[in-house]
């Protein structure tokens, strides 16, 4: 759930801007809003948003060392596990809830996704697309589980225990009565293909979601 590398504040802003998914997410966040980041790591992204967009942040993080990093950055943070009860967070108490690339690591992504739209007026979910052509190619030709920059682990030690495709994610939202307001496929250099055939060419996708009810 946590990204171990701790980056200095100066390089953080550049690192975030250089990551297309985070850059796009930042664009989708209203200045001055109340933002919760589930699985916030060392609080880099919230720190960036606080500085650039004057948001009022809160993070939730499982790793105590990362929690300490958040405190150091001045980011309020709750030490806790997303797989356990999140009912200490009130319904609709945040303008926006972020879930950046942690969904696939959770024991019960379905339950957490429901919590995202309960706690937040809207949610921004970053999703790794297992349906990307590179993964399909590796599986089809080599007959082995894909291993690459986005998925660097072996099948037996990967933290990514719940991988799915963009289509799968849409189906899940549908079954949970979650509305996908907008989606933003993230491609590498073939942005034209990623935008038009996301399930094949986007390595990740950002979904802006909310409760239908």
């Amino acid at each position: 759930m946590s990204k171990k590398a701790v980056i200095s504040p100066e390089t953080t802003a550049e690192a975030i801007i250089s990551r297309p998914d985070l850059r796009r997410m930042a664009e989708l966040i209203e200045p001055g809003s109340r933002v919760l980041d589930l699985g916030c790591g060392s609080g880099e992204f919230l720190g960036f948003l606080k500085k650039r967009k004057n948001i009022r942040p809160l993070g939730v993080e499982i790793d105590a060392d990362m929690v300490a990093e958040c405190v150091k950055r001045g980011i309020p943070v709750i030490h806790g596990d997303l797989n356990s009860n999140l009912d200490y967070l009130q319904s609709a108490s945040f303008d926006c809830v972020l879930l950046t690339r942690v969904l696939q690591e959770l024991t019960n992504p379905e339950a957490v996704l429901k919590e995202v739209v309960r706690i937040g007026k809207r949610g921004l979910v970053g999703f790794i697309n297992f349906g990307h052509i590179r993964n399909r190619w590796q599986l089809a030709l080599a007959g082995r589980m894909p291993k690459n920059v986005a998925l660097p682990h072996e099948w037996y030690n990967t933290p990514n225990i719940h991988l799915g495709t963009i289509r799968d994610f849409r189906d899940l939202c549908d079954s949970l009565d979650i509305e996908i307001i907008r989606s933003f496929p993230v491609g590498r250099d073939r942005s034209f293909l990623a935008a038009n055939l996301p399930n094949l060419f986007a390595y990740a996708c950002i979904f802006e979601i909310r409760n239908k009810k």
């Binding site: 109340r34 009022r56 809160l58 105590a64 929690v67 300490a68 958040c70 405190v71 150091k72 950055r73 001045g74 309020p76 943070v77 709750i78 030490h79 806790g80 009912d87 200490y88 967070l89 009130q90 108490s93």
Partner: protein, 378 residues
């Protein structure tokens, strides 16, 4: 933690008196008034010109105002939180002005049951009014006013000290920038009340107790109370590691009721050391204050914390079964329900409740960094 620049931190206990007249007396939760109150306190560091660097530390049940440093270079031991507080330390007295006062009801210089009742000229003993955690805080507020501080950068405390810190944020929301509540709870649970009751019984049934009018400290009862309480400050793991089933001085069991086990000997030692420095009546009064402590006042905690403005840092320890992580999370939930800025961390430790005094490095780093950011925003 780097070594402190200068370990010769010296402090002098000071006294602050208030409440000679009816108006100035301290009105207590029980309805009675306390007159001619003395607060013994210590300060460290310098108050800045902007008065934006004052930190009030609260001691735990049997602690005192002597947080750090020594009273004289010949002292054998420094204050109880000397690893945390001092020049260049986590709560850096080169940077902050640190205040700590003895609680009322105690026996370390502030007014308590072994003080003279101005109405009778005799010791209060059990005529001393039962005080609450909120009463202790109200007394401290007089001291902070006296020191000319309008707003504290932080109120900090572990265990009963954390209860006082939390109470400060509720009673005086405009005087507190931040609250650091360590290994504590928003209310005493029945298990803790039960432990206190056994301790209280042990003291009151001591042959020397004489309904509080003793001339000799009822040592047996007080030591028993301390031994019982001390067990609740440790953990099964820390006790197993330290003592196991080791025998103290013998190769085999005595087959009698002597001190066979190392853990028995340790507890007796703790009990004996305690009665040398602590008064039995004070122990009754302070544990009663803890029993009565309920930040939610019998109602909903989030509702009770509506007045809160302070940012919070809440810290628990994984093996603390006296004031658990779940109890800290109750505080966090109520703080978030009031849309407060709140951070929470559970520190992994095998030391039990005592971890708040022993896990200095990890706790200290959190406190240091939190304080730094609080001062930036002050």
């Amino acid at each position: 933690m780097s070594d402190s620049v200068n370990n010769q931190l010296l402090s002098t206990p000071q006294d602050f008196n208030f409440g000679p007249g009816e108006e100035n007396a301290l009105l207590l939760d029980c309805g009675r008034k306390l007159y001619e109150v003395n607060l013994r306190y210590e300060v460290y560091g310098k108050l800045s010109a902007k008065k934006d660097n004052a930190i009030l530390i609260h001691h735990a049940l049997t602690g005192d105002a002597h947080v750090a440093g020594k009273h004289s270079p010949e002292d054998r031991k420094p204050g109880w939180w000397d690893e945390m507080v001092g020049p260049g330390k986590f709560i850096d007295t080169d940077k902050y002005f640190v205040i700590c006062s003895n609680v009322i009801g105690g026996c370390s210089g502030s007014t308590g049951p072994r003080s003279i009742d101005p109405a009778t000229g005799k010791l209060y003993n059990l005529d001393f009014p039962v005080v609450t955690i909120a009463d202790m805080v109200r007394a401290q507020k007089r001291l902070i006013d006296h020191l000319g501080i309008e707003k504290l950068l932080a109120v900090v405390g572990g265990s009963m000290g954390g209860m006082q810190s939390l109470e400060w944020g509720r009673l005086y929301p405009d005087m507190v920038k931040s609250v650091i509540a360590i290994a504590t709870t928003s209310q005493l649970g029945s298990q803790s009340i039960a432990f206190n009751w056994v301790g209280s019984q042990a003291i009151r049934s001591d042959i020397n107790f004489n309904n509080g009018e003793y001339t000799v400290n009822p040592e047996h009862g007080l030591a028993t109370a301390r031994m019982l309480a001390h067990i609740t400050y440790l953990s099964d793991e820390s006790m197993s590691r330290k003592f196991g089933r080791n025998l103290q001085d013998a190769e085999s069991y005595s087959f009698a009721f002597k001190r066979d086990f190392a853990v028995e000997s340790y507890l007796e030692y703790q009990g004996q050391r305690f009665v040398e420095r602590f008064d039995a009546n004070s122990y009754l009064y302070i544990t009663r204050a803890i029993d009565y402590y309920d930040l939610a006042n019998g109602g909903d905690l989030a509702e009770a914390m509506k007045s809160y403005k302070a940012d919070l840092l809440v810290v628990s320890f994984s093996s603390d079964w006296l004031f658990t992580t779940a109890q800290s999370e109750v505080i966090v939930k109520a703080a978030l329900a009031n849309d407060l800025n709140c951070s929470f961390c559970e520190i992994e430790s095998s030391y039990g409740h005592d971890a708040f005094l022993l896990e200095v490095d990890r706790l200290g780093a959190l406190i240091r960094d939190f304080l730094h950011n609080q001062q930036e925003e002050f």
